[in-house]
């Protein structure tokens, strides 16, 4: 049975490896890489321990079916204990202590290097958790250069980044497994996590603390890119929103600013400036809709606006009740918010 289990495990690992974007064994961040090394150290030591315990147990069972010199009640020796067993007990205790010491020391040094990898951050991002989306703010000394996005994080590769974490409602947990471990967002506190991405790529993070009915749909798309591409992205994000041009886009824009949408959402350069829901200035440039609920596409934008409660039941975005024309116009406008 055991070899089968091993093959099964290997097969599962191989299958699981298909996922490269939300994977604790990815190791694309500094802390993430530390995790991977430490994880395999622990797996190795624990495997030895397991083999020792279960091996001696099964061997003992096999042997005890026809014992050579048993000490049982049948011999009247059920209280007797061979001296060798006592010495082996001492040896076993030492073995456990040594194994645990190795692991504790390894853990301690990994923790220290985790602490070091976050030193001297060169970029600060403020992330605020909300039921059920991430508010992301890139702050700059120059207010006009600060900008806001949602459910999407861009990081320059090789640059230490500090992410300050706050929550507007309940406890959430920030977790991008490929880059680092998790950090809770706790109302009334400011916590932080240091990220140092070592490889470019698209990754996915997800809220890891149960935060209510749509905890499952609170993802965060993370793009790690070259410094050059990152700067391009920042420039793009700092711009005001796309100005509607065609009549249908204009109709959508008017609808957005005049009706319910602007009660919660903001679009820079328009009168809509509410901060209850995600900032939508460059909505269409993002990879997904509603914190990873749907991939970004015209059809999905339309489906989402038409009935958010169908896509993400319990979400704070209500079904507005649009006519097909209104929906088409609004989608046409939203699609252009690159």
């Amino acid at each position: 049975m055991k070899p089968k289990a091993a093959i099964l495990a290997a097969a599962l690992v191989a299958l699981g490896a298909c996922n490269t974007f939300q994977n604790a064994l990815g190791g694309e961040g500094a802390d993430g890489a530390h995790f991977v090394s430490l994880f395999w150290v622990f797996v190795a030591v624990c495997a030895v321990m397991y083999a020792a315990i279960v091996g001696s147990f099964l061997l003992g069972l096999w042997r005890a079916r026809r014992p050579r010199a048993p000490l049982t009640v049948d011999e009247g020796k059920h209280q007797e204990e061979p001296a060798i067993a006592g010495r082996l007990l001492a040896a076993w205790a030492i073995l456990i202590a040594v194994g645990l010491t190795i692991l504790t020391v390894a853990s301690f040094f990994t923790d220290r290097s985790n602490a070091k990898s976050g030193e001297h951050p060169q970029l600060l991002v403020n992330v605020t958790g909300n039921q059920w989306w991430w508010d992301v703010q890139y702050s700059s000394g120059d207010v006009s250069k600060s900008f806001r996005t949602a459910n999407e994080l861009h990081l320059p590769v090789g640059v230490p980044v500090e992410v300050k974490l706050q929550s507007n409602d309940v406890i959430h947990s920030f977790w991008v497994p490929n880059l680092a471990g998790k950090q809770d967002l706790i109302p009334g506190r400011v916590t932080d996590i240091q990220l140092l991405a070592r490889k470019t790529g698209l990754f996915r993070g997800q809220c890891a603390e149960f935060c209510g009915v749509q905890h499952a749909h609170m993802a965060l798309d993370v793009t790690v890119e070259s410094l050059e591409n990152f700067r391009k992205w920042v420039t793009l994000q700092q711009r005001a929103a796309f100005a509607p041009q065609s009549p249908v886009e204009l109709a959508g824009y008017r609808f957005f600013t005049a009706r319910n949408c602007s009660a919660c959402h903001a679009i820079t350069g328009s009168p809509a400036s509410a901060t209850i829901g995600p900032d939508l200035t460059h909505f269409a440039s993002r990879q997904s809709i509603a914190a990873g609920t749907l991939p970004m596409s015209a059809a999905n934008v339309q489906a989402w606006i038409a009935d958010p409660q169908r896509q993400k039941p319990g979400s704070n975005m209500p079904k507005v009740g649009l006519t097909p024309d209104e929906l088409r116009a609004l989608t046409a406008f939203m699609e252009r918010l690159k």
Partner: protein, 653 residues
């Protein structure tokens, strides 16, 4: 008034004139059984059934009720596994899923895990230490009705669609007044109060029973290891449960009367909850696990036909685990951003707790090496326990390390870990223990064929259900999600888990079926079918209401092996009244003949009145105040001595 305090020892050489009949050579056998049966009889009818204070009735009720909750919570687990069998499934809604996983965890921890272990302890402890009853029989009865009331509250709420939906850990502010609207969380928090009252009452009773009622000669060093585990877990309950009771009371008052303990906007702190909850929550795991190690010790000894190797080491391991368990709670909070310095301490403590468990494992293995092993169903469960639990223990060592925990915390890796610990470490031994003691409780053996079939299904099904969860967790699957997207490599692990879950569910049903079938048609067991060494096997199966005709006297750890033909006993307890023997705490020297409580409906009435007060308090704080009055009346009636006053007989005349 007479000073009746100083008679002990004065009676030497005198012939006591006994006004009431006592057991002894002059009164033994059938006549004694008849008289004891009359003194220990239950009143007839339904009222009599409600009035029972017999630890065997109460223990059995606890176990059966807990198994019913296991079945219910297991059914919920199957709904979750069906929902998660494929990505984007919509079998249940998000809201319903949250209720289901909350109910599953809450039921398993509060209505199955602790109560089933306490039920086993209530049933077995008096028999194993050779006494007639629990220390506080009515308190034990009361505790059962409170437990039943708490369970009913939670499950009636589920049926009425007002079940809690914030997880078994109920972190504020999600569970606080602002986000946990409605009565769902109040019901959860009050259910905690019910089960904590019950659990604490049982713990005090068990502690007093173990310390004061052991058979003459059963020194602490001759106590069966299961009784040691009972003592350690009862003490742990006494220190751990007040923490969750306090936490949930503060939560209720935040929700109902507007206090701000957990409200950061008014100088409160949401993390206060987490400290209080995990100060209870981590020991809780050991409160479930240590009794299971007691089962394993008893089963290993009996089926290896020798005492467990290095008894003092096993006892020290139990005590050491019990103490260390209180120093680990912060490892549930590594991701909250507490100062890093403190983490190292909790990492060290979390790792250290595996030392006593490792030593216990060694002792069992050494026992097997020098014993002669019979591979019967209880022993098979011990094998499953070792193979499974050690995986859970070692993955526990992994998550004690802060850098590993920060990744694995709140993922399916943790779900895998604690199911390996709790099912592998507690449920497997429990199923073995039920198979082992079933003949004692019912007088019949469980079916071996059905037993082996369900064993293999549950053992293999378990691995299939829970091993892939390690992978799912590493692949980034967080806990408590009602669905997950496709294309993340999560499809196959989840499907395997669902299939394995189905196998486990079938196996549990088969096990329950075996219980019912064997109860009707199992082979007759006799007093000691396994050739076991401890006192519970010295009395008929099922045991009479008074447990032992004559109180056994113990001269070793394994009395039935050391005097196999003729039991050593003591004589001289009254047989016309319920009377039991108190002995000294360390050496179990006979000290006092103690009257034991008669059956009474008042514990039930008191529990009903208390339940009304608790449930009313969810709706108005005045409910608690006014509900206290009938509860207090019931308690006074319960404690009021019976009329006419018991005849105190002078021993010396």
């Amino acid at each position: 008034m007479k000073p009746p305090g100083k008679q002990k020892g004065d009676g030497k050489g005198k012939v006591p004139r006994q006004r009431s009949p006592r057991d002894g050579p002059q009164l033994t056998g059938g006549e004694l059984d008849r008289r004891l049966a009359a003194a220990w009889a239950l009143p007839p009818g339904f009222i009599g059934w409600l009035s029972s204070v017999d630890h065997k009735d109460i223990g059995r009720r606890y176990i059966i009720t807990a198994l019913a909750f296991l079945a219910l919570a297991g059914a919920l687990a199957m709904i979750m596994r069906l929902q998660l069998a494929r990505p984007g499934n919509d079998l249940v809604s998000a809201q319903r899923y949250d209720e289901i996983f909350t109910m599953h965890g809450t039921t398993m921890m509060f209505l199955f895990g602790v109560p089933v272990m306490q039920g086993m302890q209530i049933y077995l402890t008096p028999l194993m230490i050779g006494t007639r009853a629990m220390a506080f029989p009515r308190l034990t009865a009361f505790s059962y009705w409170m437990y039943l009331g708490g369970g009913a509250l939670l499950w009636v709420a589920f049926v009425l669609n007002i079940a809690p939906d914030v997880g078994w850990f109920a972190y504020p502010p999600l569970s606080g007044p602002q986000y946990g609207v409605g009565k769902r969380v109040d019901i959860w928090a009050q259910m905690i109060t019910f089960t904590e009252v019950a659990g604490l009452a049982v713990a005090v009773t068990l502690t007093a029973t173990v310390l004061k009622q052991r058979a003459p000669g059963m020194t602490l060093a001759r106590m069966p290891l299961f009784v040691w585990s009972t003592l350690v877990t009862s003490l742990m309950v006494i220190f751990a449960l007040p923490s969750v009771a306090l936490a949930s009371s503060l939560l209720l008052s935040d929700r109902l009367v507007g206090t701000h303990f957990y409200n950061p906007a008014e100088r409160g702190d949401a993390l206060l909850w987490q400290h209080l909850f995990w100060f209870f929550g981590h020991p809780e795991v050991y409160i479930i696990f240590l009794p299971a190690t007691g089962f394993v010790s008893e089963i290993v000894a009996t089926f290896s036909r020798r005492s467990v190797f290095a008894y003092p080491i096993v006892v020290l391991s139990l005590a050491g685990t019990g103490i260390l368990a209180f120093g680990l709670w912060v490892h549930h909070m590594f991701a909250t951003g507490l100062p890093r310095v403190g983490y190292s301490f909790f990492t060290g403590a979390s790792m250290a707790v595996s030392v006593p468990t490792g030593l216990q494992l060694y002792c069992w293995i050494a026992t097997i090496w020098v014993g002669r092993v019979r591979m019967q169903v209880p022993m098979l469960y011990v094998v499953a326990f070792v193979i499974t639990f050690v995986i859970g223990g070692l993955s526990g060592v992994m998550i004690a390390a802060v850098p590993l925990d920060l990744q694995l915390h709140d993922t399916y890796f943790i779900v895998a870990h604690f199911h390996y610990v709790l099912i592998g470490g507690a449920v497997f031994p429990l199923l073995g223990a039920i198979t082992y003691w079933f003949p004692k409780v019912t007088g019949r053996m469980m079916s071996d064929t059905l037993g082996k079939l369900s064993f293999w299904m549950i053992f293999l099904g378990f691995q299939l259900a829970f091993f892939p969860m390690h992978i799912a967790g590493l692949m980034g699957m967080p806990r408590r999600v009602y669905t997950y997207p496709g294309g993340m490599g999560l499809e196959i692990p989840n499907l395997l888990s669902s299939v394995g879950g189905g196998v486990v569910a079938l196996a549990i049903l088969l096990f329950l079926l075996n219980l019912i079938v064997s109860l009707r048609s199992g082979a007759a067991a006799g007093p000691n079918p396994w050739g076991a060494p401890t006192l519970e096997w010295a009395t008929p199966s099922p045991p009479p209401r008074y447990n032992f005709a004559h109180l056994p006297v113990v001269a070793s750890l394994t009395p039935l092996w050391d005097s196999p033909d003729r039991l050593l006993v003591a004589q001289g307890l009254r047989v016309d009244e319920r009377e039991l023997l108190l002995t000294s705490v360390i050496d179990a020297v006979p000290d006092i003949r103690e009257p034991s409580a008669e059956p009474s409906p008042w514990p039930f009435i008191a529990a009903a009145a208390t339940s009304v007060a608790f449930i009313a308090s969810i709706f108005s704080p005045w409910g608690l105040l006014f509900g206290t009055i009938p509860a207090a009346i019931a308690l006074i009636a319960w404690f009021w001595p019976k009329t006419p006053p018991r005849v105190e007989e002078p021993v010396i005349t």
